[in-house]
């Protein structure tokens, strides 16, 4: 049963990520990103991390994908679907090369390492448990993360909300 779910959601995540990379329309890319995030959340559920699955759906699928779609809408889709790197075609082959090397190294290390599954999982992914640990043992990183979020929020507002005449536009 676990294999069925793992296979289904893993293939869904891979299909979503491939769709993000190859689709020429940026809105389609964002929707494929949504598929990938949802499938990853389901994989978290298979792994027993319920709270993370919830956070994944809320933050990634809810907030980030909507943000992407908004920005694609604001910037304009017609300027977005420029997929082919015509000026530097070698860059794509470099990417394929990195892909193959990474897969080879990762595959080798995965085959050579004998990871055993841990026994006796006592519902440690539940929201209650994660919350207790997060607020007791990891309070400082948690608060630092909130400071990061605040800084990002202020920075995003300052960057995006400034209304001034365009500077530095090249003379044409």
């Amino acid at each position: 049963m676990e294999w069925v779910f793992f296979g289904l959601f893993g293939v869904l995540a891979l299909v979503g990520s491939v769709g993000v990379v190859v689709s020429r329309n940026a809105v389609h890319s964002a929707l494929f990103l949504l598929v990938n995030f949802a499938a990853t959340a389901l994989l978290f559920l298979v792994l027993g991390a319920q709270f993370l699955a919830l956070a994944q759906v809320l933050v990634y699928a809810g907030a980030i994908v909507v943000l992407f779609i908004f920005v694609v809408m604001l910037v304009g889709n017609e300027t977005v679907d420029d997929f082919v790197a015509r000026e530097r075609p070698w860059l794509r082959w470099a990417a394929v090369g990195f892909f193959l090397v990474f897969i080879a190294v990762a595959g080798y290390s995965l085959v050579m390492s004998g990871w055993e599954a841990a026994k006796g999982l006592a519902d440690y992914g539940a929201v209650e448990r994660v919350g207790a640990v997060l607020y007791r043992e990891y309070l400082l990183p948690f608060e630092l993360a909130s400071v990061i979020l605040l800084a990002a929020m202020i920075g995003a507002i300052i960057l995006a909300a400034r209304t001034r005449p365009p500077l530095g536009r090249p003379e044409e």
Binding site: A13, L14, S29, L43, A122, L167
Partner: protein, 102 residues
Amino acid sequence: MIPLSWYLAVAAILFVIGFYGVLSRRNAIAILMGIELMLNAVNLNLVAFWRYTQPDQVAGQVFAIIVITVAAAEAAVGLALFIALYRLRGTVHIDEIDLLRG
């Protein structure tokens, strides 16, 4: 139970697909999507290692939560930068953005 290597393999493939997206795309928004894919793959790795090696410690999940937070902050700032850039130059095509070129 599924061996840990399968999760790690899926995460590795997701990571390199995101990396391929970062390198092959010329549109800044699409590059940011590739970065999000990579961060997501890292999260999957962290959770899988948590589940298989130390399920009685929640540290792996806390790490993944911090990564999600940073990813959200990065997406917000990055997309705000692209909006400011689009306002300034009228494009988010990274080959045409050469403000720092002397």
